[in-house]
């Protein structure tokens, strides 16, 4: 007796029907995979924990000239060049100098990060880095700085002593 579950269904289809059925199933699987991103009815996810050096902790010290340069740039990024990278133990000290030829001497930025962060950033002496100040809503206070490769955020750094850090620990 015919039974849909025991009969070899391949024998029941014409080539055209087989094609249509397989195509439907394949499209269904494809659409299914594409459209099942996960529900978020009521929750936060830990997606960014798998980010790289993007959220690494770092601190920054700016010369007075660099502070003025970044403050005057407002929301725009300023070009710097990596002048030197010094690694001592687990700490890497990156010194940036302004890329502007007209810039005064002494416009330097010193960024302190972990050595592992430096590895993930893949930067070397001579690399051009954009730096942007993050201002508060009223644009009156600098909250932190972003170091960018074009529009890609390389690292987020706060001024030494800032309480605005991006830190996370799994318990």
């Amino acid at each position: 007796m015919y039974n849909a579950f025991t009969t070899n269904t391949a024998l029941l289809f014409s080539p055209l029907q087989k094609f249509t059925g397989r195509r439907l199933l394949a499209v269904g699987l494809l659409v299914g995979v594409m459209l099942f991103p996960g529900a978020s009815f009521a929750d936060g996810s830990k997606t960014m924990s798998k980010g790289s050096g993007q959220v690494s902790k770092g601190s920054v010290t700016l010369s007075e000239g660099a502070s003025q340069l970044l403050a005057s740039a407002g929301r725009s990024a300023v070009n710097f060049v990596v002048d030197s990278i010094e690694v001592a133990g687990d700490i890497a000290e990156i010194t940036l100098v302004s890329a502007a030829k007209t810039s005064q001497a002494g416009v330097t930025v010193s960024v302190s990060v972990s050595a592992s962060t430096l590895t993930s950033l893949a930067i070397a002496a001579g690399t051009v880095i954009n730096m942007m100040a993050v201002l508060n809503e009223s644009q009156a206070q600098i909250l932190s700085y972003l170091l960018l490769d074009g529009t890609r955020v390389l690292i987020f750094v706060t001024q030494t002593g800032s309480t605005l850090s991006i830190v996370s620990e799994k318990l």
Partner: protein, 301 residues
């Protein structure tokens, strides 16, 4: 046979389409890349919140607060009860000022991937660095006694992970049993445990014990769950294993699934719970002037 393919196809597509509408904070599995705007908005929001919390601390000693933030998509089409005016905040955490990890540390549950989740302690900036669809936050301040109870439970007794107890994650977990747990249910369990300790029941340490206490003490009557719409096709899709891995309905009673609306804890539920147990001092909402979603955040599968 062909009709079976069609049914399977339709079920998958419809389940996917409906659930895709909830795409937001993601399923936890995808790597997220923040652009400058994502950082700027998260930092501005946390700076605004931090300023507010410090003012409150200086004025009345507030040191523990419940925070509710938006997810990555509006739940307006999903939430049918819309419990309290804070129903649109979909993720909660408790922030402790005097925390060894740092001032105003948020302790909360996050979905790692699929059915896995963990408890995290994080700074305020990190709390907002999660691609919310709106940069806004609601701050609910419990009364000083509950603040002290929460501080004792989480900071002094270090019971944050006990109240999680390696639970299995579902974004629509049933708040009335212990089969699954989501981030907001974790906060409900934490609040319940703190209330148990305040009432002299100092043997409540785990989420299972907290749930027992919720039922035995009658506090369960103060829980006003949000009702999440689940269409029949979704229910079928989830049962067949087509749905997202971080959502399941198997911990909900058949009657709820049949009715097409399942119970879960929203931020509105938590604030109403505090209010109905007479532990709520005040609520405040804060938002960025431009509260819109950061446009330069991308996901990498």
């Amino acid at each position: 046979m062909r009709s079976i393919y069609v049914v399977v196809f339709c079920t998958m597509v419809l389940t996917g389409q409906v659930l895709a509408a909830d795409k937001g904070s993601g399923n936890g599995c995808d790597k997220i890349i923040f652009g400058p705007q994502g950082y700027i908005k998260a930092l501005q929001m946390s700076s605004k919140l931090s300023d507010y919390l410090e003012k409150k601390h200086l004025s009345d000693g507030t040191s523990v607060v419940l925070l509710g933030r938006a997810g990555s998509n509006s739940p307006s089409t999903r939430f049918t009860s819309k419990v309290s005016q804070y129903w649109s905040y979909t993720h909660a955490g408790l922030a402790y000022r005097e925390h060894p990890f740092g001032q105003w540390t948020v302790v909360h549950l996050l979905n790692d991937c699929g059915q896995k989740s963990s408890i995290y302690q994080e700074s305020l900036s990190k709390f907002f660095l999660d691609d919310p669809y709106e940069y806004k936050v609601v701050v609910a301040i419990p009364d000083p006694a509950l603040q002290a109870g929460l501080h004792d439970l989480i900071v002094n007794k270090n019971l944050a992970t006990a109240l999680f107890n390696n639970s299995t994650y579902s974004s629509v977990s049933n708040p009335f049993n212990t089969q699954r747990q989501n981030s907001n249910e974790y906060i409900l369990d934490t609040l319940t445990a703190a209330m148990a300790h305040m009432a002299g029941n100092r043997t409540v340490f785990t989420r299972e014990q907290a749930k027992d206490y919720l039922h035995s003490s009658g506090l369960v009557k103060k829980v006003s769950p949000e009702r999440v719409k689940v269409k029949g096709i979704e229910s079928l899709g989830l049962a067949l294993g087509f749905g997202p891995e971080n959502a399941t309905l198997d911990d909900h009673p058949r009657s709820e699934r049949r009715d097409g609306a399942v119970s879960m804890v929203s931020v509105g539920t938590l604030i109403t719970f505090l209010q109905d147990t007479a532990h709520l001092l005040s609520t405040t909402e804060l938002a960025l002037q431009d509260r819109s979603k950061a446009s330069d955040t991308t996901y990498q599968q």
